[in-house]
Amino acid sequence: MALGRRNAAGRRAGGTDSDSLLQDGPRQAPGTDPSRSFLEARDLRIHFPTDDGLVKAVDGLSFTLERGKTLGIVGESGSGKSVTSLGILGLHRKAHAKVSGEIWLGGDELISASDEEVRRLRGKRMAMIFQDPLSALHPYYTIGHQIIEAYRVHNKASKKAARAHAIAMLAKVGIPRPDSRVDDYPHQFSGGMRQRAMIAMALSCDPDLLIADEPTTALDVTVQAQILELIQTLQAEFDSAVIMITHDLGVVAEMADDILVMYAGRAVEYGTIGDIFHRPEHPYTWGLLKSMPRLDRDREERLVPIHGTPPSLINRPSGCAFHPRCAFGERNGDLSRTVVPELAEAAPGHWVACHLDPDERRAIRVEQLRLGS
């Protein structure tokens, strides 16, 4: 797309200061809404052709995110959370994945941009923290080497300056004695420290967008608390936008401003944290909230599981993908089985994709499930 190219050219000529880029109006294409959110995904689709059929891992996802805010993406394994985050970073190989739609990051469109261009943005303006720090860090290189490499790819810095920067970053994420630990290898770090080192690497170029894909799933609960707090502190300091991908509703309740609930590659509910936890509208969200044991409530005699199993992404159930597991799917006759529900605004800023009548939905939520206020 011409727009992406033009931005790239302008960037090459005009230096790399991300803040000036953000405020730089004239580089926006004519007709582009200048009030566009910092990050905006529109009708994002990521499909993988396989021998068994087309896997529609992400199928029409839209969301926005501002700087300084956190978006939580929640869903079961196979719902498309991680595929979405890799898609934003442009980490899907074009030979294997069909990516369509639009992703705007501070005025740059990422999907139509060239590989070269995305590579320059990746690390510099957007970075990722992976779930398993042991496999995301290279075992043959020291922690310092890996941070220095990431820093020098994007910044003109001498090795010495880059090393000083790496030590400063390690200190910032709370690694004791960073000037000696910088020469350690990943295996010499504990799980929590590795995750800290990965955060240091992700933040070494001061990215505007930080994607954390299950950053604490591999960690113990006390370490998890440390890492979540670290992410929040650094987010406030750098004014970054954060996408927090997790299956743990406790983690999103602590971290997120907005929540996107995904099921079978689509958003089933999207709203503020209050919407999702206090006024959930979608039966799948109800299921998630009711099925987990909670420490903040009295112990329930029995959990309410969601029946059945997550759907296949090759043979998605017809109509609403959740209907085979939905306790209320029968109420609309054949509608849930035949028509795919579109994401519609149930209340300002609160979107839900469900065929149930809004009044009926509210009645079920309050009377039967005692969910929300």
Binding site: P176, S190, T222, M292, P293
Partner: protein, 400 residues
């Protein structure tokens, strides 16, 4: 049988009196040797389990919680006798099974079975479901009344699987279904005790609830006794009758579920509970969170005396020299700590014991954790002495 010695009473009392003791463990230790050099000289030992005393009553569920590396999985393996204990004693149904071997061990396994964490690696991918679930009958040379196939199909039905899937292979099933296969296999010989090592942690949230409900139904139906090993504190609270908290190979607190979650006494338990993220955005920022400094010390070289003193904000001189015993401070509530929280009247001679700002013992957990003053008061306590091995920085825990 080699081990037909009569029951050795371990001095464990049974508060409440419900159910007889099915399993009792005393002084259980497992040290893994670290060998170096050509002569394979033992230079050190990983003290994975370092002196456990507890008992399990028939029909109850005992939860074992702790962070990774605390020895909970090793404990589970010792109970099923997959690992040989270094020291201590395991008594099951009045028989000492600590060093049982051969045929006697095989006979004991009819009564003690294990459910493993990872349903992907604990089922042989080359065997059909029928062969996996029927294996215990073949191994134990047991004939069933209606034939093994029919029995296995009944078992599959019992755990909520389609009996017609008898000839399918594990890869044809989802994670939750595979965990059901693992449970069916463990039930095949109608055991009395099931050790479940992280039975739901590999599963999605919506599937976790299915498996937890299944385990509870089976317990009621078949009168099973469970030892559930897990790191998820909310799952453990839901499933357990009593809970033991482990830290560096030792039990630091053991109590009834309600007691432990509402009146945690050991500082480590308090810190663990405060670290669990709650699924309620209204709680955000209102809870005081105790952050433990640093990482878990290495079990190769655990801190002397109280293993928690390097990270504890209440630690004092005595904690570095004298190991606190696992003492019963209130009925059925045992704690290994010199300065327990929420303690009713233990150690009255210690002036710090009754801190007026510590919440009363009938405060429930979330309320108690929200209480800012409790932990501020705790963190204003004199700074603990410098840790022995330079593991962590001393000082009050950062709270927010």
């Amino acid at each position: 049988m080699t081990a037909t010695t009569p029951a050795d009473v371990t001095g464990e009392e049974h508060p409440g009196g419900e159910g007889e003791t099915l399993l009792s463990v005393s002084g259980l230790r497992k040290h893994f040797p670290v060998v170096r050099g050509l002569r394979r000289k033992t230079v050190a030992a990983v003290k994975a389990v370092d002196g456990l005393d507890f008992s399990v009553r028939a029909g109850e569920t005992l939860g074992l919680v702790g962070e990774s590396g605390c020895g909970k999985t090793t404990t589970g393996r010792l109970l099923v006798r997959l690992d040989e204990p270094t020291a201590g004693k395991i008594v099951f149904q009045g028989r000492d099974i600590t060093h049982t071997k051969g045929a006697a061990l095989r006979r004991m396994r009819r009564d003690v079975q294990m459910v493993f964490q990872d349903p992907f690696s604990s089922l042989n991918p080359r065997h059909t479901v029928g062969s996996i679930v029927g294996a215990p009958y073949r191994l134990q040379n047991i004939k069933t009344e209606v034939g093994i196939k029919r029995t296995v199909q009944d078992l599959l039905e019992l755990v909520g699987l389609n009996p017609e899937h008898y000839n399918r292979y594990p890869h044809e099933f989802s994670g939750g279904q595979r965990q059901r296969i693992g449970i069916a296999r463990s039930l095949a010989l109608r055991p009395k005790l099931i050790i479940a090592d992280e039975p739901v942690s590999a599963l999605d949230v919506s599937i976790q609830a299915q498996i937890i409900n299944l385990m509870e139904d089976l317990q009621n139906e078949l009168g099973l006794t469970y030892v559930v090993i897990a790191h998820d504190l909310s799952v453990v609270r839901h499933i357990s009758d009593r809970v033991a908290v482990m830290y560096l190979g030792k039990i630091v607190e053991l109590a009834d579920r309600t007691d432990l979650y509402e009146r945690p006494m050991h500082p480590y338990t308090v810190a663990l509970l405060s670290a669990v993220p709650l699924a309620d955005p209204d709680q955000r920022g209102k809870r005081k969170r105790i952050q433990l400094a640093g990482d878990l010390p290495s079990p190769l070289d655990p801190p002397p005396a109280c293993p928690f003193h390097t990270r504890c904000w209440k630690a004092q001189e005595v904690c570095t020299v004298e190991e606190p015993p696992l003492a019963e401070l209130s009925p059925g509530h045992r704690v290994a700590c010199h300065f327990p929280e929420n303690a009713p009247h233990a150690n009255p001679e210690d002036p710090r014991q009754r801190d007026p700002s510590v919440p009363s013992e009938d405060g429930v957990v979330p309320k108690e954790l929200r209480d800012a003053e409790a932990h501020q008061a705790a963190s204003q306590a004199p700074a603990p002495p410098a840790p022995a091995a330079g593991q962590t920085e001393p000082g009050p825990p950062p709270t927010r």
